[in-house]
Amino acid sequence: MRPSFFHHLHPPTIPARQARLRYTLAAGGLAVFLVLILGITGILEIFYYIPTPTEAGNSIQTLTFLVPFGGLVRNLHFWSAQFLVIVSIVHPLRVILTGAYAPPRQFNYLLGMGLLVLAILLDFSGYVLRWDEGIRWALVTGTNLLKSIPLIGNALYTILVGGTQPGLATLIRFYGWHIFGMTLAAGILVAWHIFRLRRDGGIAVPPPPLREDQTRITRFELLRREILAMLLASTALLLLSTFAPAPLAAPITASAPASETARAPWFFLWVQQMLKLGNPFFWGVVVPLAVLVLFSLIPYIFPKPVKPELGRWFPKSNRIAQGVALFILLSIITLTLLALLPAS
């Protein structure tokens, strides 16, 4: 059989531990599967979505309610995107808590962080494309945050928004970034990331002489497990998409007052909560960027995991990195929950 990228990712045999669900959580594989679903459903949506402020809401309503299975396609796209953000967080967390970023995988870890950022930005831009009352607050607040950046803030705002306030140019730009700019970058990074994964020796496990478990599984067993995960994920996505429709509100109109219960999308609620603390540049830009930089530098600034400890959870050699990651994660979860509390 001719070698292919598929064979590159599925060698004849791999160490059993590399494909053990309770070790990998199947997060990387699920992310790839979700990206595929997002690609297919996204392409279908392109045929109906009209990226203008007056027609965006109507075209989404047409797709959702009037096109056969259009609502299902949109719901699948929505839920896949939410799960992609979740697995894009779970995946690096697993990597940190198992020390899997140990050399030579630091660079691939960085590529993964890039993908996490892209997953979040793609989710946010897709959210904005709804162009309905549900997204107005987050759009205005999010883009205004750019203005708070000293020196370059206004220029960044103009580049992103295309004017002095959100409008047609903004929607076209978000659309362009969403379906082309960021999608292209994500596609390249996904391919690079999984290419590097294989070049770095697959999922991190101790080198052969140090392995306690020398069992190996065939590529067919690996494929069987991947299919199993895909079947289960597909079922979950289908049921969610059938019974929990993606949010949709009335299209943005100039006359409508801003909702008092306006919220950011769930993955930015922690930033929304921090913004209540004061200085928007510090809490809305500096702190989130610092968190991202800190996460990205974990393989470089903290004690490195030792090879014999690879392939299992909570190795002793990188406890500091684990502690930092868990602390930040718990802080983000706490801030998110606080943001969800009704305003007193």
Binding site: Q61, F65, F69, L232, L239, T242
Partner: protein, 418 residues
């Protein structure tokens, strides 16, 4: 065992697909309507196909739903579809009436084309409640005279031909007199923007629909049926029961500044029409209010007034004349005469050019009253189409003093006992 995982997962996906297909099949088949006035497809009829057409002047194929009600025309999910409706169930509420019912081709035209309904209704004394506010403030010494300066909302009519060109908004919290404060708190219930008082007999919408959307009352003698509802209808055939959702329901007690509902339990029209204390003639309870009171009296004439008597001008003599004069008439010679449009909207009478109608002292057509060849008059009830024939006073044995035409004077001989 593990080999069955794949089979089980495949079956779960299959089940998921079946459930999805089943759920998809449960969605209602969209019913599209493209009204000629908007040329934009809307799908409201998917759920509301059983709703009767609101009026013959607003055919659904021409107007659709969205042009009046707002809402999301493409949405088939109730919450979203209704989220942008104007005025909830009532697009004629005065807060949104301009967007819903307005437009120079609709109901915000000019007095010349008799389409200035919104201007007239929103400036009318029933909308501003200016008379009651002025009266109470004057009674308790807050203002020096009875001239209205406040309404339930602020409004300006620079071209008003009355002495009042603007009203500021009445804000009870800014009043210092406790009675006026209490009035503001308890008594602002009978203007056209106010929600109705509790009780099924008071159920009505606000705005235009307070009068033009009939409340469907149950048989009031059957106390097991206490529900009443508005129906999807706009009409100019307004029954006295609609007027009575505000009028004749009780009295305001000026000492306690509270509303005291009437205590009797009416069993028929005679007893239902007015409160027990009232005096009235037979035509005042057999006819409906709108059979005598004109559109200008009820909806205003576009000017601001301080008190009801400034706009309400009809008297018994308008229809019956006096001992010296017959009531005023007009023979229809102009096919564009307003009478034809009014008769078209409420076809209880078939008007033709050459017909002679009664008119009021301000030349408003009493389009439902004909002069018959024998000199008597034929009235068709606007609400029920009932035919009545009546005679003029002139030539009768009436003992009236032609100068005294207030209802109290007529009631001295013609009041009905109950």
């Amino acid at each position: 065992m593990r080999r069955y995982f794949l089979l089980a997962a495949s079956i779960s996906l299959l089940l998921g697909l079946l459930i999805t297909a089943w759920q998809e099949s449960r969605h209602p088949k969209p019913i599209a309507l493209t009204p000629t006035l908007t040329s934009q497809v809307e799908y409201c009829l998917t759920c509301h196909a059983d709703l009767a057409e609101i009026s013959s002047s607003h055919p659904v194929n021409t107007f659709g739903c969205v042009i009046c009600h707002g809402g999301e025309r493409l949405a088939l999910e109730a919450n979203l579809a209704h989220s942008t409706m104007r005025g909830g169930k009532n697009p004629s509420d005065f807060s949104v009436v301009q967007a819903s019912c307005g437009g120079s081709n609709c109901h915000s035209g000019t007095a010349e084309n008799s389409r200035d309904h919104i201007q007239r209704a929103t400036t009318s004394i029933q909308a501003t409640y200016a008379g009651a506010i002025a009266n109470i403030r004057y009674t308790f010494g807050v203002q020096p005279d009875l001239k209205a300066v406040l309404g339930v909302f602020a409004i300006r009519v620079p071209e008003s031909t009355s002495a009042i060109t603007e009203l500021a908004a009445f804000n009870p919290t800014q009043e210092t007199n406790p009675f006026v404060q209490a009035f503001g708190q308890n008594c602002l219930t009978c203007h056209l923007s106010a929600l109705p008082l509790p009780g099924s007999e008071c159920i009505r919408f606000t705005g235009c629909s307070a009068c033009h959307t009939p409340t469907q009352f149950p048989d009031r003698t059957d106390t097991t049926q206490i529900q009443s509802n508005q129906i999807h209808k706009l009409t100019t055939a307004i029954s006295y029961t609609q007027c009575d959702t505000c009028h004749n329901r009780g009295n305001y007690n000026l000492r306690t500044m509270t509303f005291e509902p009437r205590q009797d339990l009416p069993t028929n029209r005679l007893h239902d029409y007015y409160q027990p204390i009232a005096q009235f003639t037979s035509c005042e309870w057999m006819l409906d209010c709108v059979d005598c009171h004109t559109r200008t009296e009820a909806m205003g004439d576009g000017n601001l007034y301080s008190v009801k008597k400034d706009i309400q001008y009809l008297q018994c003599k308008t229809c019956h004349g006096t001992l010296n004069d017959l009531p005023q008439t007009r023979t229809l010679t102009d096919p564009n005469d307003l009478a034809f449009r009014l008769a078209l909207l409420n076809p209880v009478i078939d008007l033709k050019l050459g017909d002679t109608l009664l008119i009021t002292e301000k030349a408003e057509p009493l389009w439902n009253i004909h002069v018959l060849p024998d000199g008597t008059y034929e009235l068709f009830g606007k609400a029920d189409g009932q035919r009545y024939v009546f005679r003029p006073v002139k030539g009768s044995a009436c003992l009236q003093d032609p100068v005294r035409q207030d209802s109290g004077s007529c009631h001295q001989c013609h009041s009905v006992e109950r």
